[in-house]
Symmetry: C2
Subunit: 332 residues, 2 copies
């Protein structure tokens, strides 16, 4: 059967000179990345969601400085086993899967903070702390001191990819922001004042009511369609589903307004949501992501923007920020 | 429960002056469009797919000059009832649902044409025929004579929307093309030489093997994730699912390479795919789309790019071509 997209096919010899070996597909570039290009995700930064149907999903929480008020609440909610026995209540096609307390009656654990709308973005002063973060690419770095330095940092991976392809387009604006790029493994956008995480497929955000409510973190959703970038800076982005998104995206769509399930029995039960660090070591998921500072990532991003593998005739010459997902895999 | 996105909520009086009425959400703008802004989709331009699980999907085929070689084949395949008894064989998360003959053994009906790769795009000379098409917005128009006229035509709806919002960004390039816009109800991209349909959520394309094969139209797929724009000009786009996409996008993902189902029994049977015009009149689906030349559409597109309804704090200031889906509804 026709495969629509073939990652690698050895071209049959035509009797003449052997055909040139086709360029690697993005998936092959990722598969060939050395072990040193992969960064383990800490168990304390993963949530394991187990559904009543036995399926699981794993969520990676964002690093500082992004959305830390909500993420702190989410850690407390998970520690309190707050989601256990609740449900997925909404599945809207080409939009979101949302879970929490369908009846909004369950008392929240003590100690949750109220987070302001200003936290949808991180201000310059927050982002300047980035270089003191205990993440791989900051090792040995000096603190950042200017917005120019931040932008350089944000677009560095991008720049490497596009430099290779001969394009000068990295850091260009898209329809939603002045600059997009990938910072320490996460897709972000920024303007002169702020930097914020963006709504790509499988990103996780915090449901809320009307402004000035920003949500506590008890009501969460993940994106299961085309990137709804109009939600950027309007809702907190707190992480992404790194495993099992298909167990959420393939759920039956709700038939009520906004995709809510109309009957209680349609809801999909949540057995538990746990911080992976709370689980016995043997049960902890082990995932790693491809360092977005690595040469492998730059090559991968370039290939996503310019497919040169055998199936493709016309390389696109670019890719939007949500069409270059950061590779994540089970730790071998 | 928190609804993440509330289309309209009357603000409670705070005792002082009544709060200003929030702007309409895109869905409300569409709901308020006059009947005269809606265009009926001809039964001859719709395919009705009925699955073994009883669910249906309706596909609208693209108008000339786009992809007409493959679309002619698809009409013949439907008339020959060729897909009856075949199956959905591939469901790849955040990518495509694909159907056809899993064994590639079923003989194709006579009369199918072989279409060249040049037909992935339409050349200037083809697009110049547009004004002679029997579709609504061409009534009384003179033929187009220049590429400038084509670009003006393509970006006209866009321009109306963005003019309203004060933006000058319509017709700007995105990561994939020089210009994007909506032409006679369809999202397209173009450069100096060509114009082509783009891969947005729910668009339907033609599976193929390696170049120079372009596929016959017997193997089809629809997009169920973030717009895979890198496929533009590499595969034929022939239409879009206008009803029942959720019956495809919620299917279990295949666990084989590229999301193919590994076992024959996992495949989802196709009872039939019929041109709607072949069905008894009473059984024909009746759909209409919002004219993209209408003021309602311009207002809707503007609101998609700049959400001002109650839930939103920060209008995006723009939207990518795939984030302004053309509204389609059942004919009231």
């Amino acid at each position: 059967m026709k495969t629509l997209l073939i990652p690698f096919v050895a071209l049959a010899s035509l009797g003449a000179a052997p055909a040139p070996k086709p360029a690697l597909a993005p998936s092959e570039i990722v598969a060939a990345a050395p072990a040193s290009d992969w960064i383990a995700i800490a168990p304390a930064d993963m949530l394991v969601m187990t559904l009543a149907n036995g399926k699981q999903a794993v969520i990676q929480l964002m690093p500082p400085p992004f959305s830390q008020g909500w993420i702190g609440n989410i850690r407390k909610l998970a520690a309190a086993h707050w989601w256990d026995g609740l449900s997925i209540n909404r599945v809207q096609d080409n939009y979101v899967v949302q879970w929490g307390d369908a009846n909004e009656k369950k008392a929240l654990p003590a100690g949750l903070v109220s987070v302001g709308e200003g936290e949808y973005s991180s201000a310059k002063s927050d982002v300047l702390k980035l270089s003191s973060l205990p993440i791989e690419s900051n090792k040995g770095q000096q603190p950042l001191h200017s917005v120019d330095e931040i932008i350089k940092e944000v677009t560095a991976d991008w720049a490497k990819a596009y430099k290779k392809s001969g394009l000068a387009a990295y850091g260009d604006s898209d329809a939603y922001s002045d600059v997009t790029g990938i910072l320490k493994g996460w897709p972000v956008a920024l303007d002169d004042e702020n930097i914020w995480p963006v709504h790509c497929y499988s990103m996780v955000g915090v449901g809320r009511n009307l402004s000035p409510d920003t949500g506590s973190g008890a009501e969460l959703y993940t994106v299961i369609g085309h990137a709804p970038r109009h939600l950027d800076r309007n809702i907190a982005v707190v992480g992404r589903v790194i495993s099992g998104i298909e167990n959420l995206s393939s759920l039956p769509r709700g038939t009520g307004a906004l995709g809510f399930y109309e009957k209680a029995e349609e809801r999909v039960g949540i057995i538990s949501i746990r911080l992976a660090s709370e689980l016995p070591t043997a049960d902890q998921p082990r995932f790693e992501y491809l360092s977005t500072d690595s040469k492998s990532f730059a090559t991968y991003a370039d290939a996503r923007a310019n497919r040169r593998d055998a199936f493709f005739n016309v390389p696109a010459g670019g890719a939007d920020i949500c069409n270059i997902p950061v590779p994540v895999r089970k730790k071998p």
